[in-house]
């Protein structure tokens, strides 16, 4: 029941915001309260969650189309719990930022944001393929509007690209779901058996690769991340991209063990290329958001490396890094927005020297930046370390590429920090030193605070993403995370590789 509330409470409030003639202030206030309530609900779920149990928790099932075995089936696994939490926190920050900035047409805007919150929570909790698809689409549609209506000058081009790319991905996924579900006779993720079809697998993988995005499916990314309003970029790169990584874990790897091990090399290669490619482009991006956008591409490559390492180290690290990157990139996009509000530009050529007289901005940006470049002792370091240690076991070359990318990450993040904060005062930087206001601090400091807390205890997530049933069995623990998801289908990795 709690899961359903997590999904539909924001949607219900969205309807209220749309229907009632609320003032600007009231619409924003209601939306902010609802998104904070979502965080509260998630904390409730976290407190009541039993990390020792291996089953689905807070689950609910209602038959929908009984002849096709489609049902409304939702519930939380430990790793989905963390992603729902990420969603709640980032959405709350995004809504708060929008309230702070005061968006035009507030009722439409905040309704869409709340609807989006519910849809994303649905994606992370759906246990039925068609329901998953429904939530996935429900997540994309508000985004089209949010980018297309409230974006910057080039928003139309950005939206068209975004729509075309994601539509292509969605259609592929829909086709894959229909074929897969009809083959297996059910759409329920807990009941559906593994498949060995490479084509169906590729349908899912390409859909998720576009959403993530993975190289070379990232054509929509630079424009969408630049032209959206900052809080929408924060949601896009912080949360929505994680839906793709979640799909890799929950569907691609868990349901297609055979194709996964056949095609793993190719996917790892794309992920590794994306990691280096994104880092290199981030290093030459001329503006703040460009750096964050391309670093998102790189980070999604890194997370995909961890996922397709298909071992416990990699998967645990990937879940941790999803949360890390979600918080980091949301914080960076919001900070970019705050910088842009002061200077009306994000171009490094016009920025610089903002640290002087703005200690709060400098401290927050510097802290976020150094966590983003994964300085050891940060939670991002823990995530990247686990991911690379995991993928190292698939082949040392992947980890070497990852290590090179970490050095590149240091280069582009430091360039971004210096470009904003240090050296000569840029021509666009106003004389009047306007530091972060308390309201702005209240938006970003919680994100950074969570990151710092996670830095002190990254194992809180990485140790609690997949339940540890039998830690003593060495062989089993090697594939604990994978076997766990696969076991939902009562099939182990080895058996499934033999089945036709």
């Amino acid at each position: 029941m709690l899961t359903t509330v997590l999904i539909f409470m924001p949607v219900a409030v969205a309807l209220i915001v749309w229907l009632l003639p609320l003032s600007r202030l009231a619409a924003g206030g209601v939306a902010l309260l609802a998104s904070l309530a979502e965080v509260g609900l998630w904390i409730e779920a976290l407190v009541r969650f039993d990390f020792d149990s291996s089953g689905l928790q807070f689950h609910q099932r209602q038959s929908w189309f009984s002849d096709l075995n489609v049902s409304y089936h939702v519930g939380l696994f430990p790793f989905s719990l963390w992603l729902v939490g990420l969603t709640a926190v980032v959405m709350a920050a995004a809504v708060a930022y929008a309230v702070w900035v005061g968006r035009e047409r507030p009722r439409a805007y905040f309704g869409l944001m709340l609807f989006l919150t519910g849809a994303i929570a649905g994606v992370f909790t759906a246990q039925d393929l068609l329901l998953f698809y429904a939530f996935f689409e429900a997540m994309l549609i508000p985004l089209y509007v949010l980018v297309g209506v409230w974006g910057g000058a080039g928003r139309l081009g950005a939206t068209v690209k975004f729509v075309i790319y994601t539509m292509a991905g969605s259609l592929l996924m829909l086709a894959a779901i229909i074929v897969y579900g009809l083959q297996q006779g059910t759409f329920d993720l807990l009941e559906i058996g593994p498949s060995s079809s490479d084509w169906v697998f590729l349908g899912f993988v390409v859909a998720f690769a576009i959403k993530a995005p993975l190289f070379p499916f990232h054509g929509w990314l630079p424009d969408a991340y630049r032209e959206s309003s900052p809080e929408v970029s924060a949601v896009l790169s912080g949360v929505v991209s994680k839906a793709a990584a979640y799909g890799f874990i929950r569907i691609a790897i868990a349901k297609f063990p055979g194709p996964t091990s056949d095609l793993r090399g190719a996917i790892l290669a794309l992920a590794a290329i994306g990691l280096v490619y994104g880092s290199l482009l981030a290093f030459r991006a001329p503006d703040v958001r460009g750096v964050v956008a391309y670093s998102s591409l790189a980070q999604m490559g890194l997370i995909t490396l961890g996922v397709f390492a298909v071992n416990d180290l990699g998967l645990d690290g990937a879940v941790l890094q999803m949360v890390n990157h979600g918080l980091i990139s949301a914080a960076l996009f919001l900070l970019a927005g705050m910088v842009e509000r002061r200077t009306s530009t994000g171009e490094f050529a016009l920025l610089g020297g903002m640290a002087r007289g703005r200690p709060a901005l400098a401290t927050v940006l510097m802290t976020t930046g150094i966590i983003a470049l994964a300085v050891p002792l940060s939670s991002a370091f823990a995530g990247e370390f686990l991911i690379l240690a995991g993928v190292f076991q698939q082949g040392w070359g992947w980890a070497v590429v990852g290590a090179v990318a970490i050095v590149l990450a240091a280069m582009y993040i430091l360039r971004m920090i210096s470009g904003i904060l240090h050296q000569d005062v840029g021509p666009a930087v106003p004389e009047a030193a306007l530091d972060l206001r308390p309201g702005e601090l209240a938006i970003v400091v919680p994100l950074v605070g969570v990151l710092l807390a996670l830095s002190a205890w990254p194992a809180a997530i990485s140790q609690r993403s997949f339940p540890n049933d039998q830690p003593q069995q060495a062989v089993r623990s090697q594939f604990r995370a994978v076997s766990y998801v696969v076991r939902e289908t009562q099939v182990t990795l080895n058996v499934s590789r033999g089945t036709p």
């Binding site: 070379p216 482009l281 050296q423 002190a456």
Partner: protein, 629 residues
């Protein structure tokens, strides 16, 4: 008393957080006092750990305390734990003791800087990071401290953030250290794969299971981290640039503590290095090469801080030489005395720089002998200790490393010769600096810019630190005189048993030769720079220009790594990303419009066309059904 170690670790972190969060609520002075106080609390914590270890038997001097599981994935996990053993307590004492002195000095040195609070927050953060590095109870925490000291070094080098050169130097230092972090991380991946753990105990106990190539790669990865942090060949180019930071920073981070972390790493992980003797020899060889190279470059530097920086590289070369040869205690002993006399030299140089309105170019100095007698004597003590003149600190620690080299076959003798050459160079460049700065006539610049602060040669916070360090540099080496007494070696014995045991004649030969060569260097420096009528300095133009350009390492790295990466990123952007990826959206959009236009032509509005289409479709479907049946 393990809580002493936790106190030691927590107190500087608490100070850093308090200063950051306190903002304007804390006065600038208050921030300085808070940071100093916290570091001395850390020193007390370290002392508590030291004395409680002392009360245990030699065999029972390793205590691990785990707070919580810090990082975990799959079956691998590491706790957030502190290790108290002879090696870590020795480092804790050095770091918090010297750190406390230098932060206290900073109260005077940074007085009046508008961003003093930020400075002291960074300094406290650095002390925390360094303590984490030396106290970390497993390799991953060691790496965490390793990265964090790199971060604080970055922050402090770039402290004056409007200066382009400072920001560039800070970035360079961070990126070169990130290279070292990356090679260490790769070594850890091998360890995780082979042993499933990063705890010191597990890793060192299971060393036998590791194959030959694996152990060599692991040692190589660790060595990569060590040379990056300790500015040894080939990752040394960041250290001279790091002198852009405030002088106390150079003293604390880039001389006394952080840059010697590589030596600590080798000693800490010596069971791994001992399994990979080739890598050990490589470490010693790199140390020897660095000490000679840095000594040569120091001869032509004109910036007083850069001369001291190169001498730091050179001295760490000695430590690497010792640690690589297996003379762990000697390396650590030199680390300790070096912390005293190098911090002293920097602090004294800082007083000079302060008195000359920030001037660092030695060519503008001269004749400060009478103007700053106190500083001059302290600087002299530091210089003598650096050169290794009896009875100053460097004599006891450096010569025992050289003696150890004699006990290691022909390779050892090769290194021994390099080390002795380094002694001569040390005498030469150190006293060139001393004579140029303090000797001779007062230069025009000095006459114009010299000013007293009104109360002697500096505020009490500065002079007291310098005096304390001068005392330590003078007598700090007496705690160990290898042929006669060796408490440092026996203290460290439970952690790192030395591989070499030089005979007494080796000690005497090394000491005698090194002392003679050091004095020779001083004598040559006197002839060229100190005598009333100095001889003309012999010059060999191509050599000099190569040395002035620091043997072209910067240029080579620029050409080999930076420019290709920049070029690649530009080319990728111009010829791949823009036309092929970012452009595809528009092409897709236009393509779909074209397709739509094509289909729209079918909508003729003529019923006969539609009927034809329906009929022919039905026919096709019928044929298909019949055929499939």
């Amino acid at each position: 008393m393990i809580w002493g170690a936790w106190l030691c670790l927590a107190s500087p972190l608490a100070a850093a957080l308090l200063i950051t969060l306190g903002g304007n609520a804390l006065s600038r002075r208050g921030a300085g006092y808070l940071a100093t106080f916290a570091t001395f609390v850390a020193f007390i914590g370290a002392a508590i750990s030291f004395f409680s270890l002392l009360s245990h038997d030699a065999g029972d001097r390793s205590h691990l305390s785990t707070g919580w599981t810090w990082i975990a994935g799959g079956s691998y996990h590491s706790g957030f734990s502190v290790l108290v053993d002879p090696l870590s307590t020795m480092m804790m004492l050095i770091v918090s003791g010297v750190g406390g002195l230098i932060i206290g000095y900073s109260i005077g040195y940074m007085d009046g800087d508008p961003e003093e609070r930020r400075y002291f927050a960074y300094m406290a953060l650095f002390v925390f990071s360094m303590l984490l590095l030396v106290q970390g109870g497993n390799l991953i925490l060691l790496l965490a401290g390793w990265g964090m000291v790199g971060l604080s070094s970055y922050l402090l080098i770039g402290f004056w953030q409007e200066r382009h050169s400072a920001i560039a130097a800070a970035k360079k230092a961070f990126v070169m250290n990130a290279v070292g972090d990356a090679t260490m991380a790769l070594a850890f991946f091998i360890l995780i794969q082979k042993t499933g753990s990063l705890d010191f105990g597990d890793v060192f106990a299971r060393q036998g299971f590791l194959g030959g190539w694996a152990i060599n790669l692991i040692a190589l990865g660790l060595l990569g981290g060590a040379v990056a942090k300790s500015a040894q060949l080939p990752l040394h180019t960041w250290l001279p640039d790091a002198m852009e930071g405030p002088t106390p920073v150079s003293a604390l981070i880039h001389a006394a503590t952080m840059v010697t972390a590589g030596v600590y790493l080798i000693v800490r992980t010596h069971p791994i290095f001992e399994q990979a003797p080739k890598i050990e020899d490589l470490a010693a060889g790199l140390g020897a090469a660095t000490l000679v190279m840095a000594g040569l470059i120091a001869l032509v530097q004109t910036d007083i801080k850069r001369v001291i920086a190169y001498s730091t590289m050179s001295q760490i070369g000695y430590m690497f030489l010792g640690a690589g040869l297996g003379a762990y205690a000697n390396g650590m002993f030199h680390l300790m005395t070096h912390a005293f006399f190098k911090a002293l030299l920097f602090m004294a140089a800082g007083i000079v720089i302060h008195a000359l309105a920030g001037e660092q170019d030695m060519r503008n100095m001269g004749g400060l002998r009478e103007l700053m007698p106190f500083t001059r004597w302290c600087f002299l003590i530091g210089s003598l200790a650096l050169v290794g003149i009896f009875p100053f600190a460097g004599f006891f620690s450096k010569d025992s490393i050289l003696a150890a080299a004699m006990d290691r076959g022909w390779y050892g003798y090769l290194l021994w010769v390099a080390g002795l050459a380094g002694t001569f160079l040390t005498g030469l460049y150190t006293f060139r600096m001393y004579f140029v700065v303090f000797g001779g006539q007062r230069s025009a610049f000095v006459r114009e810019h010299f000013h007293h602060e009104g109360h002697g040669e500096g505020p009490f916070s500065m002079t007291s630190t310098v005096a304390t360090l001068a005392g330590l540099a003078a007598i700090g080496g007496w705690i160990q005189w290898s042929p006669f007494w060796h408490p440092v070696t026996s203290w460290l014995e439970p952690v790192a048993r030395p591989l070499v045991e030089p005979a007494n004649w080796m000690e005497w030969t090394s000491s005698g030769t090194a002392l003679a060569l050091g004095l020779g260097g001083i004598w040559v420096a006197w002839l060229l720079y100190g005598a009333r009528r100095p001889r003309p300095v012999p010059r060999v133009a191509p050599v000099e220009s190569a040395l002035v350009h620091k043997l072209y390492f910067d240029e080579a790295y620029d050409l080999a790594f930076y420019r290709p990466a920049m070029r690649l990123s530009l080319l990728l952007g111009r010829f791949f990303e823009r036309p092929l990826i970012a452009g595809t959206g528009r092409e897709l959009a236009e393509g779909s419009v074209d397709v739509g236009r094509g289909f729209s032509r079918l909508q003729t509005g003529l019923v006969r066309t539609y009927v034809l289409a329906i009929a022919s479709s039905l026919a096709v479907i019928a044929v298909v059904f019949v055929a499939v049946r």
